[in-house]
Symmetry: C2
Subunit: 348 residues, 2 copies
């Protein structure tokens, strides 16, 4: 086993990353390629990116040394139900000379394993969307939310962006002065306008003011509704920026998002659970105010649970491939060596 290798892949919407590693924890290769999700990119294009990332990670390494592989990606159930996508992935795997089996797993499990080596725990992901899942023996157990922007994703980037616009519209309807967040929303959505800090009701006769305020409200609504709804997630950074500048609406929205995300967790995680919680997704990795809000909520509900941040998904996928080949103690040691832990850990 001493020269045995494992390979892990993290396939996302905009990039595919591969890590080749020894069972001792040495990274012997890495590779990157473009987005490779078959659902959004098509089976052949996705398989081509997969082969590219695999080839780069392997380099001149003998592919026969690779004993196991794990590929993590979103929408894995759909992929597994689609023979054409499966066949395209199989061809890409063989094309680079790999002969070992590989396992397809969902991205929540990869995110989870990138934060902890514990077989049981919970992962909470908030980016454009939001989903929570419990993990048992490194398999997904129960899932909460992830229902998409129309019916769910409570506390996600989409939710923050939509609520920022809703708060702005409510303030405009009421004819109250716009705060920092609302001014940023108007500036972003209606760049031709130059809203004053005094708000739309300032200046002019009351009835004229009301009419022009309504026109601006309609412009704002039209601007948003003409674009794909999910683009509202692009406004989430405005909420974070306004919060940093002391805007109370932004701070309240982040606190509410933290509560909603924690509620999603509470639907599937028992009250006394002491297993770790891994925070993942663009809005929760790193030192973000939403992560702070979520941690506050998690700490109050599960005071005895460790909270960790997700880190390198491709390395975690490689570790998941290696895990069945090792004793629990060796697997744990490999995790420490192979999967870099976030500077924001430990959070307990």
């Amino acid at each position: 086993m001493s020269d045995a290798l494992v390979i892990g892949l993290d396939i996302g919407g905009t990039s595919t990353r591969a890590v080749l590693a020894s069972l001792a924890g040495d990274r012997t290769g890495t590779g990157t390629a473009g987005g490779g999700n078959p659902t959004s990119h098509g089976a052949e294009a996705a398989a081509a990116e997969l082969a590219k990332a695999l080839g780069a990670a392997l380099g001149s390494t003998d592919p026969g040394r690779v004993r196991a592989g794990t590929i993590g990606l979103a929408g894995v159930a759909r992929l597994m139900a689609d023979p054409a996508s499966r066949a395209a992935f199989d061809r890409a795997w063989a094309e680079v000379g790999l002969t070992c089996p590989y396992e397809l797993i969902g991205d929540p499990l990869v995110a989870y394993a990138s934060g902890t080596a514990s077989p049981d725990g919970t992962v909470l992901i908030a980016g454009t969307g939001a989903v929570a899942a419990t993990v048992r023996g490194f398999a997904l157990d129960r899932v909460s939310d992830g229902h998409g922007w129309l019916l769910g994703d409570a506390g996600s980037g989409f939710w923050l962006g939509r609520e920022a616009v809703r708060a702005t519209l409510a303030t405009m309807d009421a004819g109250r002065p716009l705060g920092r967040l609302s001014r940023a929303v108007v500036r972003t959505l209606l760049p031709a306008e130059a809203p004053s800090a005094a708000g739309p009701a300032a200046g002019g006769r009351a009835d004229l003011g009301a009419l022009s305020a309504r026109d601006r409200v309609d412009d704002l609504v039209q601007r948003v509704t003409r674009r794909p709804p999910v683009e509202l997630a692009g406004l989430a950074p405005l909420v974070i920026a306004a919060h940093a500048e002391g805007d109370r609406t932004a701070t309240a929205l982040l606190a509410e998002a933290g509560r909603l995300l924690t509620e999603s967790v509470a639907r599937i995680r028992e009250p006394g659970d002491t297993t770790p919680v891994v925070l993942a997704g663009g809005l929760l990795v790193g030192d973000t105010p939403l992560a702070t809000a979520v941690e506050r909520e998690l700490r109050s509900r599960w005071p005895d649970a460790t909270r960790r941040r997700a880190s390198d998904g491709a390395a975690a996928a490689a570790w998941l491939a290696a895990r069945p080949l090792l004793t629990p103690t060796d697997a744990s040691a490999l995790h420490t060596r192979l999967v870099p832990q976030s500077a924001n850990n430990p959070l307990k």
Copy 2:
């Protein structure tokens, strides 16, 4: 003036209604035609329905006797900004022999005037969408919400339907037994399934149960997201029915919708305002539980205001056409004769 007539039209998405009346309050003709909104049906098709309704209301009456006309419809600002639609309406008006001027007004004002002869007040409309407006001297003053399903319509039929699905998904995620409302939602959206009262977690091993529950959750989400979002409003009757059967989730949703609708009103109506509030739209006319919830909220905020239900929009439009031709006393008397008041009035 004794033989003078007025004509009013209420143009909706599915029907166009016309009322021809004398200044004494006699209905001398009525007409109906198909939906005639230029925005949704096109200018020429809308004008043809307008001409049809006008012609039916006039019958053999000399159109020269008609002194004034009012046309109420949704999206009036867009219509007035579109010369082609205006010209098509002008042609329809002339085609039936009418020579008097006509006024185009928004449907909130027509709904308002169908409930009260008071020149100042508030109208709250909840159907598929939701909007509130204050009225001053029979002109729209301020408007709140009406921002559409993505950004607003808080407390509307869309909102009730979406929240019914969200509550169902949350219950399924948590693996709790489905209540009446959630069972009705599943039955409606997944008619092939036969959900048991015990819920998805009942029977089978826990992990298998969880997996199949997640598949059902995904099916439900897919079913909704493949259709136009506004169709969620079609689930609002399930909330009303489940409330009637004692479902607590449904009752809570209706109470919350009532609060949200009243909040929309509070953004534009002063706390001490004693002018009437007219309730309009499919979810608030008639003896509906949402109307009851809204009335409770309105009564607690504006205890001295009369609450009225909207009634016949075409008759109200005819009355609005007649009003400038009469003394205030005569106008008030005409309203009493011409515009039938809902059996659910007075609500004070």
